[in-house]
């Protein structure tokens, strides 16, 4: 499979769901400024208007009827309506749905993620900064200045920490092929393993950077996968939370039973055991990359 970027490429045509909201409107402008082809927006009841030159429709159905080239959607609608917005995008035939919204109830997330998987569609998120293929386009909310076109594939569970690490990679002159935020919630559409495999198959990606955090077992599952498949491209990781006191809940990870996993040490061990280098500061990663590439 050949590609020069994953998830977001030259053919990406974007629908913005919740385009008339504060965040939707603001980031529509930033995406357009970055060169992303934002084709249409949806806000029920606001059909007929336009935002930054983008026509607004009452439903995804009417947006797709007018713009059948749309293949990607970005969702800014409030958490209460996110499940319905995603189902609407899927039913209309959209391939990739990037769910920016934070705070969606877990059960709604389970339903939407499973629905998309059963239809062989891709959900990025929820609670994700989105996807950026520097120089090609961004479907997300990340600050463009942190990124530059290059050869490192970045996949992350975190939002802002991704910008931090990516900026370091940009500053040493390597840049990124694509940067994917899988989302910070316990249940996500794409997971580390799937994005990792996309990067392995991506011609533009020469090395892969994983950005994780304590809690859950997403990093351990990736380590398992790499151990089974063997390291095909240099892979480096940065895990936040090394010094977080055990037993305290840091942010959104929630009270979900961790099944004995999820500490910084368990993640580091699992990844190193699979041949992944683990670093303790964002700038250490970019330095190490310079030695590899």
């Amino acid at each position: 499979m050949k590609s020069t970027a994953i998830l977001v490429n030259e053919d990406t045509r974007v629908l913005v769901q919740g385009i008339t909201g504060r965040q939707g409107a603001f980031h529509t402008k930033l995406m357009i400024d970055y060169g992303t082809k934002v084709v249409a927006g949806v806000t029920p009841g606001k059909g007929g208007s336009s935002i930054h030159g983008v026509p607004v429709y009452n439903s995804v159905l009417s947006a797709l009827r007018k713009h059948p080239e749309i293949n990607t959607s970005i969702v800014f609608v409030p958490a209460q309506y996110s499940l319905d917005a995603v189902l609407e995008a899927l039913e209309a035939g959209i391939e990739i749905v990037v769910v920016i919204t934070e705070g969606i109830p877990l059960r709604d997330e389970l339903i939407l993620v499973n629905k998309a998987r059963s239809m062989d569609r891709t959900i990025v998120g929820p609670n994700t900064p989105g996807v950026i293929s520097p120089g090609v386009g961004k479907v997300g909310i990340m600050p463009s200045q942190a990124f530059s076109r290059g050869v490192i594939g970045v996949v992350s569970r975190s939002g802002t920490l991704t910008y931090e690490v990516s900026m370091e990679i940009s500053e040493v002159g390597l840049g990124q092929s694509t940067v994917v935020g899988i989302g910070g919630d316990p249940v996500t559409g794409l997971d580390f393993v799937e994005v990792y495999e996309m990067f392995i198959n991506d011609l533009a990606t020469k090395a892969i950077v994983i950005i994780g955090e304590i809690g859950g077992d997403a990093e351990e599952r990736l380590a398992d996968h790499i151990k089974r498949s063997g390291v095909e491209k240099p892979t480096l990781a940065y895990i936040a939370g090394m010094t977080a006191p055990p037993g305290k809940r840091m942010g959104h990870a929630g009270a979900i039973i961790s099944m004995g996993l999820g500490t910084w040490d368990s993640k580091r061990k699992a990844l190193e055991n699979a041949g992944v280098m683990v670093f303790k500061a964002p700038w250490e990663i970019s330095r190490a990359l310079l030695n590899i590439i």
């Binding site: 802002t160 910008y163 936040a240 939370g241 964002p282």
Partner: protein, 375 residues
């Protein structure tokens, strides 16, 4: 959000799950009344939301009224993980033949719910997973349709129970699933689930945790979300901030849990000690930032404040305005080290500059400066 044990037991017993007879007591008098009504031996259980109650001595057994009075006198003075014990659940003591474990929770890798069951009840689940994985089974629960019929059959077989108990097992599973559907529970745990000497299944302890993100559809539970929080945590929560008290002297405020933890890690690496974890989340307003900074300014343990914001959906101008108005409201003279970068960062830096606050763009420099100032 966690419910108290007595609340959890009230709900599941309405669903037909057997729990020990018991009464809530907030004073020695009420304990006395409860013991008299129950007759026989009793268990006195501290009603707290945090910490590990058993290990902390928060559960006592009493054979006589006198023993019960003495024990509750002590318990009602206790603090467990910083939380005052204000109420006790006084329950009849159950003769137990076997202790089991049963929980319904999220199975992240399968993107579903799962029932976890073990023949080793009374042990914490993390312990079970690590040390006795063979004594544990996991049965997937579809997030829409709920537990399939075979689930109770499997459990009866796995627990090695008499077939007659299948209806009771079914009631327990149904109760857990109803809690998911009606209350958006993310954890329902029966531990221990006792097989009593008289051959009944009785839930000796029940733990229910509700998904915080779902609270908007459970208005009745919303005010309960503040129980068990410290004053600072409650203030933070009210403003949509995520706050955890730590033991150091460098107050940390960032956007995003990952970046906040990373900043804490770096402070440690540079030799400093974080005073807290404070995540303003994504897209915070200047008001939220102001309230967050005020929390740190008014915390006497905080010597230096380190603000680290990488704007994405959060805008640096909003952050700068929040910082400035917190300073002017509190009038504090604590040093504030700000690192601002990302969306609208030049506007933000301009706002800070105007008020004489210097903003770094390098994370390394900001952390080094904060640690230096805290010495």
């Amino acid at each position: 959000m966690k419910l108290y044990e007595y609340e959890a037991k009230e709900i599941v017993s309405k669903h037909g799950v057997k729990v020990p007879r018991g009464f809530l007591a907030a004073s020695i008098n009420e304990v006395r009344d409860a013991v008299k009504k129950l007759g026989g031996e009793v268990v006195l259980k501290s009603q707290v939301l945090l910490g590990r109650r058993g290990i902390s001595g928060g559960i006592r057994f009493a054979k006589t009224l006198k023993e019960a009075e003495e024990a509750s006198l002590e318990l009602l003075k206790m603090r467990i993980s910083g939380e005052e014990v204000k109420q006790l659940l006084v329950e009849e003591r159950i003769c137990v033949d076997k202790e089991l474990y049963l929980a319904l929770t999220i199975d992240r890798p399968r993107r579903a719910y799962a029932i976890l069951a073990s023949t080793l009840g009374g042990v914490e689940v993390e312990e079970l997973v690590k040390r006795y994985p063979n004594a544990l089974i996991k049965i997937t629960v579809d997030p829409v349709t709920g537990p399939a019929l075979f689930t109770s059959r499997w459990l009866v077989e796995f627990y090695n129970l008499s077939k007659d108990l299948e209806p009771q097992v079914l009631k327990i599973i149904d109760s857990a699933w109803r809690l998911v559907v009606e209350y958006d529970a993310e954890l329902v745990e029966f531990n221990p689930l006792a097989l009593s000497c008289s051959g009944e299944l009785i839930a000796l302890d029940v733990k229910i945790v509700i998904d915080d993100n779902s609270l908007y559809r459970h208005r009745g539970l919303m005010d309960k979300a503040y129980r068990g929080l410290s004053d600072a945590e409650a203030i933070a929560k009210r403003h949509g901030l995520s706050y955890v008290e730590l033991s150091g002297n460098i107050g940390i405020l960032c956007n995003g849990a990952g970046l906040t933890m990373a900043t804490m890690d770096l402070v440690k690496i540079y030799g400093g000690e974080p005073a807290n974890f404070l995540d303003i989340g994504g897209g915070a307003s200047s008001d939220q930032v102001r309230e967050g900074v005020k929390l740190l300014l008014t915390n006497p343990r905080v010597k230096v404040i380190l603000v680290n914001v990488f704007g994405g959906i959060t805008r640096c101008d909003e952050v700068a305005e929040g910082v400035i108005s917190a300073i002017s409201e509190v009038g504090s003279v604590k040093p504030i080290v700000v690192r601002l970068i990302g969306t609208n960062d030049s506007i933000g830096r301009g706002i800070l500059m105007e008020k004489g606050v210097k903003a770094f763009s390098s994370l390394r420099e900001a952390v080094a400066t904060a640690v230096e100032l805290a010495r």
